[in-house]
Symmetry: C2
Subunit: 460 residues, 2 copies
């Protein structure tokens, strides 16, 4: 699927797709990347990482702060050290591998993702962004590349919500989005809180507040860029036979929780005229929510009534309570806010009309992320230099990058997901596709960090 | 709550509520019944019966063919024998206690109910109709009453659906409504079928068909009447301060099962335009079903979307399948059939419009029962003779009587349920209320069986 590769040499003028000519400082890295970053080498690492799992492959289960997660962390920190990086961890277990640039004041280019998985997930969701960043940096080092800006590889703690029901805890903590007051309210299947599990894993804090205070990154202005390489988790790249997705926005979700209550009663005994059936109220709301979502006319406006908790849920009992969790996403904040408002107002009106009890709240509301134009351009240059095909797209799933994007110039790089599958044992990306993703990441990092002694100017 | 009692003596003319004068053959039984049938005596039996329970009182759990049920059966058969009845059992465990009338060809008056309970039920649901019939017959015997028709007390096997998910198995078997092809498909929590449990309890059949064939009553024309005494399981008698409910119809349910399917997908990844969300289809159907049920304008038309089985039921996953069980009841068959048809047709149209997969079927459809006018009149006479207040009503719950009514002149007698509660440990009926129910039953049986040597004519 890769197009013919064009070797680039130092300071050769290169015609970009958009017709502009830019001076690129890639020193032939594109050629070398295609040779040295291979799917086979990467899969040796992924295959080993996949052994840290509480389930047998193909299903991989590595929940945060379990023994398997701690073993995987040791392995990944080893990879960072092997790549010549200086490793540090923050209070929440976010792990950083740093390569000091020639100009320590020029800022830092960061790249990473998470190493935890869902229950019975696959080998690449998250892991690709961590292993990919380390492999890219190791490649640059081996090529004698000397970055002007510093480079940091990141492994975020628990992007998946599989153990504590809240996604992106590590990146939320680093970026100031973590709400300490709710952190203790979510427990795992054994009743442990994040704090208890973190403390047991050696990341010790006396309170949720301490996590939030100490994980928060201080000098965020110094983050020159953040890049996250990830599998697409959707079918578009595969369907359109594109190698690389260049992600322009992340459709972060808001979660509404609406509960209707009624007096219930026997399915025969309670006349229709006496009922205030919460399942009928929720049904009306589902139809209303679909209507207002479709009314935006935007493909990126989506709402999902995915979870229905109906009690007592017996065929001849009129429901007494129905709780629905409604996932609302958009690439545009104004549109998303409008759907939220109309849905919550609708719930109130339906409850009043049906004489049901009712609560409605925004359970969480993640920031919509818009990618940085210069970072996008650097990714585009990398794919063009590598001669791989690419597609501008939005991420319909959220990522740690959604939080990083609120503070730093950010973009994501996607590689194809076979059949669009993720969070599934059959999650798969072909070795060449993995390699092209890491090659693209390496060349993008190189451009953004800049090459040479401290006096040289980097691209950003 | 009892009005002043008027002693009736042999062949005295009595003015009925409806203004007609009828010759009653109650031989002063009304006076004696009020004296000899007491709440205290009845509750001694109920208290003992309640000890046959797998849970501690107040919650009573006696599922069919468990050890506790078998112990209760031995106790109840003992009570039948004590009352001078000849006991027999059919292949399904339906148990009969027979008092031969002076004219064996004059037919049989039957009365009974069930002795099994739901999980954590109360002491009277079912048991009142069994113990009440035996107590009524014992009273009549002690009074020297000599019936013309034979009298049979019945204990039906498993009216409750708590072990095998199908209600009224015993009475369905006796009346030809049992479907052998489905009997084996329902299993208890341990995976045992009714046949396996029955065989283990000593009721042996080689197949479900054998149960159906051998339990079926043969000479059903000889059933002169069937009476079932039961707690109301609703709030009407208590609210209106009436002693006795005279049940004119039983609103038996039909159960529809509709399943919608769709392709599911990630709550972010799947655009609205690509969805065929089965939960939205089910929501539309719930609203449509409510509309067509209300449109009958009849208080006795009720529909309940009680059970929603939504998969995968996760907040950011578009549902892949939704199965709803819809309980539809009415006292009028034509109205109920119309609601069923409109609901199933609506499901089909909604599925087509939303491009969902779809199945829709009538899972079961129990016969609506209309009480026999002569039996109703006999109950009315009994309450009038006893000087207790009464109310004509429909049963909004179903009973074994619903099946018996398809073959024989039938009616039910209700006593109040405190707070309308049943299928609940707090199920309660006051001792005097229990006694008035059994007194009414005794006097009704006496009228319907007729008194005297074979040459005398009975009332029916």
């Amino acid at each position: 699927m890769a197009l013919g590769r064009v070797p680039l040499i130092l300071f050769i003028s290169f015609i970009l797709r958009d017709g502009t000519a830019l001076s690129l400082d890639l020193e032939g890295l594109n050629e070398q990347a295609a040779t040295h970053i291979t799917g086979q080498k990467l899969n040796e690492i992924f295959d080993h990482l996949a052994t840290y799992s509480d389930t047998v492959r193909p299903g991989i289960t590595r929940l945060v702060f379990t023994e398997r997660d701690m073993e995987a962390r040791v392995y990944i920190k080893g990879l960072m050290k092997e790549a010549g990086l200086v490793v540090r961890e923050d209070i929440m277990g976010n792990t950083f591998g740093r390569w000091e640039g020639s100009d320590p004041k020029a800022g830092t280019v960061m790249s990473g993702s998470h190493s935890d998985t869902v229950k019975l997930g696959g080998p690449y969701d998250g892991a690709l962004g961590v292993i990919g960043a380390i492999s890219a940096v190791k490649f640059l080092r081996n090529q004698g590349f000397q970055p002007v800006k510093s480079i940091e590889c990141i492994m975020f703690t628990t992007e998946e919500a599989s153990r504590f029901s809240i996604p992106c805890l590590g990146s939320q903590g680093m970026t100031g989005f973590l709400k300490p007051e709710v952190l203790d309210t979510f427990k795992d299947d054994n009743g442990s809180s994040f704090r208890e599990a973190a403390n047991a894993a050696g990341f010790t804090a006396a309170s949720a507040q301490e996590f939030a205070d100490k994980a928060l990154m201080k000098d965020t202005d110094s983050i020159a860029a953040f890049l996250e390489l990830h599998i697409e988790q959707g079918p578009h790249l595969e369907a359109e036979k594109k190698d690389i997705g260049i992600v322009e926005a992340i459709m972060a979700p808001a979660l509404l929780r609406v509960e209707f209550t009624g007096r219930g009663g026997h399915g025969g005994g309670m006349p229709m005229s006496h009922r205030n059936d919460p399942a009928l109220a929720a049904s009306e709301l589902a139809i209303l929510n679909e209507k207002v979502t479709l009314a935006t006319g935007a493909d990126e406006s989506v709402s999902t009534f995915g979870l229905w908790d109906i009690k007592p849920n017996f065929y001849n009992a009129v429901p007494r309570s129905v709780r629905v969790d409604i996932d609302i996403r958009d690439s545009d904040k104004e549109r998303r806010d409008s759907i939220i408002t109309q849905t919550l107002d609708g719930a109130k009106a339906i409850a009043a009309q049906r004489k049901c009890g009712h609560t409605g709240e925004i359970k969480f509301e993640y920031p919509i992320a818009t990618s940085d134009k210069k970072v996008l351009k650097a990714i585009q240059r990398a794919t063009d230099a590598l001669g791989v095909s690419s597609k501008r797209m939005v991420s319909r799933a959220y990522h740690d990058a959604a939080f990083m994007a609120q503070l730093a110039p950010t973009a994501m790089i996607f590689v194809p997901s076979k059949d669009g599958l993720s969070h599934h044992p059959n999650e798969h990306t072909a070795p060449d596709e993995l390699a092209r993703g890491v090659q693209t990441l390496a060349l993008t990092i190189a451009q953004l960090a800049g090459s040479g002694p401290a006096s040289d100017k980097s691209e950003l």
